[in-house]
Symmetry: C2
Subunit: 395 residues, 2 copies
Amino acid sequence: MSKQNQRDLREHNRSLIMETLLLKQPLSRTDLARETRLSKVTVSEIVSGLLESRNIHEIGTGHSRGGRRPVLLAQLPQVGVAIAINLAPDETTSLSTWLDGSPIDREHQWPAVVDPASAIDQVEAIYRGELEALARCRDAALPPIVGLAIAIHGNVRGDDILFTPYYSLAGLPLAPQLRQRLAVPVWIGNEANFTALGELASGAARDNFVAISVHSGIGAGIVRDNDLDVGRQGFAGEVGHTIAVPGGLSCPCGNAGCIEQYASERAIVTRWREVSGDAGADLGSLIRASQANDSRARGVLSQFIRYMGILVNNLSRFVDPDSIVINSRLTAALPQLIEEIKAEQRCRLGEAAPLVPSLLGDPAILYGGIAMVLRRHYDVRRLHFAAFRPPDTRC
Amino acid sequence: MSKQNQRDLREHNRSLIMETLLLKQPLSRTDLARETRLSKVTVSEIVSGLLESRNIHEIGTGHSRGGRRPVLLAQLPQVGVAIAINLAPDETTSLSTWLDGSPIDREHQWPAVVDPASAIDQVEAIYRGELEALARCRDAALPPIVGLAIAIHGNVRGDDILFTPYYSLAGLPLAPQLRQRLAVPVWIGNEANFTALGELASGAARDNFVAISVHSGIGAGIVRDNDLDVGRQGFAGEVGHTIAVPGGLSCPCGNAGCIEQYASERAIVTRWREVSGDAGADLGSLIRASQANDSRARGVLSQFIRYMGILVNNLSRFVDPDSIVINSRLTAALPQLIEEIKAEQRCRLGEAAPLVPSLLGDPAILYGGIAMVLRRHYDVRRLHFAAFRPPDTRC
DNA sequence: ATACTTTGTTAATCCGATAAACTAAGTTAG
DNA sequence: CTAACTTAGTTTATCGGATTAACAAAGTAT
């Protein structure tokens, strides 16, 4: 039902050109015609529109390839701001970027939002606080806000918050209310799904992949054809609640043997405390002990490896992705874990999917929110974050 | 890259009209304009083309709705033949239908194709044998063959046979060779994926669903947006090789604890033989014993229920489909098993996906092959099989 | 018989993509 | 240094496809 008249056709080709430019800028009009297989005339027309709407600009001329020099086109990033808010169970973080994904200021922390009665007010206050922080760090006026993305630690489908294990936001009309109050496009989504968008935009993976996020629970974002697949009820990728041990440890979800009872940070730390006899032990001490070749720590990690191996195997069998991205503090600190998880893949049905570490690490959720905003703003699927500006150059 | 010029637009709208007509025939031109949201003129133009190419015909006039009576349009089924061949490990079956999916003759049996050296010749012989059988049962000449689909019990991606556990067809250029020899469109695909297409065309499920097939192994076809998702290497849906028991029974695939070691027909019959002490016991005797309330049989079935419950749970968490179709001889004979598998769903993350039995049963693979041919022939995604002609009216 | 409805076609128009010709601005070879 | 060639981008003419509006065809209702 989507593309059936000429206006849709034009819209489609505009998206195509914008996406190509965002991915491979700078490009000339002729480059764009070659890449998109559109005629030069069509490209020139659409480019005129994009120039006029100040989405792109001409940045000068490139090197001649034996004739007239090409006029190079590039995105105009500082004409708008994208904002992402991560409603984590224990704190709220926020980040604002230009339209190329480069941060304007550092990441900000705020109190956790847990009370459903005041949740919408709180998020509104955080949004306004973020704007003030931006104003303080910039003397010039801010360009328009092109969108706000809010990461929910729970299940989301469209504007509906369906289930939130860590707080009680289910059923709250967060997105519609904020849209009205802030007069800004608002997108909400599951945290693991945002992470997957972040990995897509950072270049860790593309096309068809799964991004696994390990923290207190285990979630995943499934990307098919450069688009999120959230399933019928927004539960696609709830891989923490796949059963790995029949009749195993009971899980708050109601089932027994869910894999997140064996391989989540919480499960691993619990096990590490048992093994080490230190009730105050945490993920950091486990990592340090492992680096010091502590055999008890290695034992705990072998459990992590084993169950992550099962998860990766099962993911490969179910969805057979092009690659699997892992975002976890354990694999970030101990890169060899990735190889050990790979070594668990013994199924001879084809090669195992390439396993790659996240390029974004902890702030992946926020960058994923930014990606959510930008892909809607530009009406594209893939985009490419500009190199991250080092912290010292920020305000 | 697909739809960017006007020709693509026309092609898209032609497909849209054909798909709508196949699903809801008979329809008038005005009905089609309303359903597709295209203008009456565009519909009339495209319909003229479809009439001229004898894909559809006018079957008369419908009831007046207060004005001129509509001219009803319908598919013209007997202008072409679709053929499907199922290369099962123990036998080969074949089926031919008209373009509405109604069988021309009964299903035919042939010897199993196991020798890679002669496999292509054998399949060619079976195809020609099927044509002869059709000629024998019809005095009139056959219309053209619009395509041949071949179900492979193994992994397929495009024309490439990647892995076949039961015979050695991997790497064989079956499709390209037959295309050349028979001068007919040839499609090959995984058996479970074909089954999913069959369920789609039979109306058992639509849009986004998973069709699980249980026999000697366990496979699944994943349908997203009415299209098959076969994954990077054609392994998507190889759910039999997801691990359900860490360190469990070893599987020929190289892993341990694969779910098909616990819930496939082979696994269940093995267990039934152990429990009953009868080395000749089979699935039929298990079903009969269960119907006679034999407690040992019920025990064996409870294992089936338990592991199928895990599989359904994990599928729901990974892909969150609109529904899950189960095609197995056990659930077909003992429908209450479906309810018992449903009862295993204890995860409170949203409602469990509706679990429905296959409408096609055993010949689902063949009908799925037919669907494969027809959807390519008409360039549509969804289609709807005409009611099956009862066996006694066939030749 | 007259007025109204619905179906489907004809005619006029609009919109978007393309090809061909052309202008602009360079490089290269002699 | 100029003539010939190349590449970039625009102008012009044309084509293909979708839509609107008007109309013809064929019915119903009173």
